[in-house]
Amino acid sequence: MTKRVYETITGRRIDLARLSRDERKFLLSVRKKYKARPGWSAFASWWVSELGKAGLTERSVAYRICQDLEARLGIAQGKVAAPDYRDYLADLIEERYGSRYRFCKEQGVDPGHLSRVLASRSELSLESLKHVLGALGAVLTVQGEKELREQASPQEASRALAGVK
């Protein structure tokens, strides 16, 4: 059976069965474009323009899916680094708290330090990482690089996009 969920490189699951008609139509054109494996930036330019033409905004799940598709192209083409724990943290915070500000306030995390961490300019100590992960209901896992790259590949995204009907 075809997968009806789009999973981002950081594991966020987007239910494709709940897309609006406009989102579905837009994502079908994205799927066609993506099949040709466009250049990272060419694709970025294209989808942002098409999203506007389709009357969709950054609040649409289609926006997040396209950002994810773009990142996968960048990684595969050597222009973007493979995701690390920071990408997972940022996504989990957004998903569970809505904003970094709210997360920091409720969990007593220094927002300046978190910003530096997410910008790869600082690291979280193991103790802080445990605290942050606990607050997010997440655990640290070790994954092989090959498996990580496969998970973040454009091919994997294309398979997930097949669920757009």
């Binding site: 970025a44 942002v48 222009k79 973007v80 995701p83 790869s120």
Partner: protein, 126 residues
């Protein structure tokens, strides 16, 4: 009277100044989110606010410390925004310079080139 719209383009090198490694997916995502958040819906018609172009441009510069010529590749963003919003863009680029580990970011406003540099207190993209 309608507000004057200017074309602005800026370059974000695809590797950091310090480690010369590609940026993480989150850095690009935060930049894209910030552009949408700051320039969409601020002045009405969408035509003012589109990310008109994103492309990779090769380039090179001379490193001050060594005098060596460094070749790099950048992503160019082009936006058409109201003139009154140019300072907002400069502020965004100061945060972007910190997030993308750049000493400065090339910005062209209606053809006039400037380099936007950042201090730690300018913060990061959020």
């Amino acid at each position: 009277m309608s507000e004057r719209v200017v074309e602005c383009s800026f370059l974000v090198p695809i590797v950091g100044d310090t480690d010369r490694k590609p940026h993480s997916p989150i850095a690009w995502r935060l930049l894209q989110d910030a552009i949408h958040r700051l320039f969409k819906g601020l002045s009405g018609p969408e035509r003012f606010l589109l990310v008109r172009d994103v492309e990779l441009v090769p380039g090179s510069y001379t490193e001050e410390a060594t005098g060596n010529r460094v070749h790099d590749e950048s992503r160019r963003y082009t936006l058409a925004i109201p003139e009154a919003q140019v300072e907002v863009l400069r502020s965004l680029l100061r945060s972007a310079a910190n997030t993308f580990d750049q000493r400065c970011i090339y910005l062209s406003v209606a053809g006039a080139v400037e380099f936007v540099s950042a201090k730690p207190q300018d913060g990061y993209l959020v």
